[in-house]
Subunit: 317 residues, 2 copies
């Protein structure tokens, strides 16, 4: 017996076979080709599900129980309809029922950030706990909330948009229309924007040489410079961590989950990011004098979290 998880991204569609406990047996991947229309992409989703079933048969994993589809945008789990996914240009597409018809398996739909959070909760950094918030620092700031071991969605599947909570009124504009959102400062995109700003104002910074060697300004540029003792690079890192700590403390003060997991490329900085971040948060959090506080952890499953979480969405309440 196994569960099929599909993680539909703007670049790749990944799918795999997952055990009831959240072990990923194997995964497959295909380019999304997001410029194509829904029906063409749907055929590739159905195709990759077929490949997963074939390989699972070869591995004698038993029967497929159900399919979970993690998709960006507004996903209505009740109807299985992707109401809006800007990145894929999908408007009201009945993804779950289309997949169900083609595969003759029960198919469930979930927002990709929620699915990834559920994956980390089932078998990753938040395994065995009661509640968790998982924040992914990527192009944007994605978030998924688990409360009492269940995926929290808010009414109308609109909750969890933590990336679009303002931490700096009148700050730089966000893609959502607000100004100064958490995402504006704490996404990789935001980090790169701030790095560019500091580079412009500091022509002697080591960041220029590092960027030239790497051929681009990336989310690593400022961290690499800071580690070399570059003061402008350090200023970028300090500000980045301060803003990230601010957003994270807001989440903890609101939800106080057992743990708050951060994921995404910038977490590759490891303790260099995590230690000052934890120090900041521990000073700021409202319950700083409590015996027990929210633990800040780095996600364990990387991109597999989305497949694992999606696979088991049908099993969640």
């Amino acid at each position: 017996m196994f569960y099929i998880g599909v993680d539909i991204g703007g670049t790749n569609i990944s799918a795999g076979a997952v055990s009831k406990d959240g072990e990923l047996f194997f995964k497959k991947s295909v380019k999304t080709g997001k410029e194509r229309n829904y029906n063409e992409i749907l055929q590739d989703i159905i195709g990759i599900i077929g490949e997963v079933r074939q390989e699972a048969e070869a591995l004698k994993l038993g029967n497929a129980e159900s399919i979970g589809l993690g998709c960006p945008g507004s996903c209505n789990k009740s109807t299985g309809v992707v109401e809006f996914a800007g990145n894929l240009n999908w408007h009201h597409v009945p993804l779950a029922s289309d997949v169900q018809k083609a595969t003759e398996l029960p198919a469930f739909l979930e927002n990709d950030a929620r699915a990834a959070a559920y994956g980390e909760f089932i078998s990753g950094a938040a395994k065995g706990l009661n509640s968790a918030v998982v924040i992914t620092l990527g192009t944007g700031v994605g978030a998924g909330i688990i409360i009492d071991k269940k995926i929290f969605r808010g009414e109308n599947f609109g909750g969890g948009e933590i990336g679009h909570t303002v931490i700096s009124m009148d700050g730089p504009p966000c893609t959502c229309g607000r100004h100064g959102c958490f995402e504006v400062f704490s996404s990789a995109t935001g980090l790169i924007r701030m790095t560019k700003g500091f580079m412009d104002r500091n022509p002697d910074s080591a960041m220029h040489k590092i960027a030239a060697e790497m051929g681009k300004i990336s989310a690593r540029t400022a961290f690499l410079a800071a580690k070399q003792g570059d003061s402008a690079g350090q200023s970028v890192v300090d500000f980045y961590i301060k803003a990230l700590a601010c957003g994270i403390t807001n989440v903890i003060n609101t939800l106080q989950p057992d743990c708050l997991c951060i994921g995404g490329g910038v977490c590759g900085e490891g303790d260099y990011l995590l230690n000052p971040l934890k120090e900041f948060v521990s000073k700021e959090v409202f319950t700083k004098n409590s015996a027990k506080n929210t633990e800040i952890l780095i996600c364990k499953l990387g991109n597999d979290a989305g497949i694992i979480g999606a696979a088991l969405v049908g099993e969640s309440i």
Copy 2:
């Protein structure tokens, strides 16, 4: 059959008899005398509970089922211990068990903001819904969260401190140690601070005359001036509403409850506050294109919410 609710405030202790459906039959009140020690205040709490039982007997309300105690600060519902209530200078006091021993009735403890939110949910503005966030704009910004008809507490009873989420990094200092918290801008205290600031910079503003007539600068000063066409007063009102909308939108983007209720004295401004606030939020909220969105409402129960909610805490899950 009835339930006894006690709302322990810094100024008054109020208690009443409440029906299972959240109807308040009557209430009584006594001064808190918060400068006194815990045992003295405890005797008054037990005393007012006795008075409620006597009057309930006279009214033939039947038996008292249980007592709910709404208390400011960190309240551990599991142990019934008030871990810390700064306003009352209580540290680790076993309030629920002390009340239970003295009254021989089951006694439950809850944080006062959560109790008040539960009251609005049971029989006030949020009655009949699935989820709600209740925000009280008073000396501070208190909040209570109801999810799936249950009081949300976070792990270790530390969730719901929405007043201490930062909306303006590096903003004015907050009592919690952070800077630029929602509470700094949206509490009555914050409104008065901003009013004073604008008055200092605008010696010709009508706010000076209004404050002189009222004998003080209050949360109403700027609103009264704005209604007279005073531009500095209008600037205070505009900024106050903008910051309030920012904090409220953050809550909606995170939790998307069925409704968000605001309470506290400033809500006496009615539509003059509510209409521009709703307009701001509707433009800012992430789900602005959804068919259904969080409704913003004004609380209905006033100070009774705390008694009603506390009374029924034992009945909540």
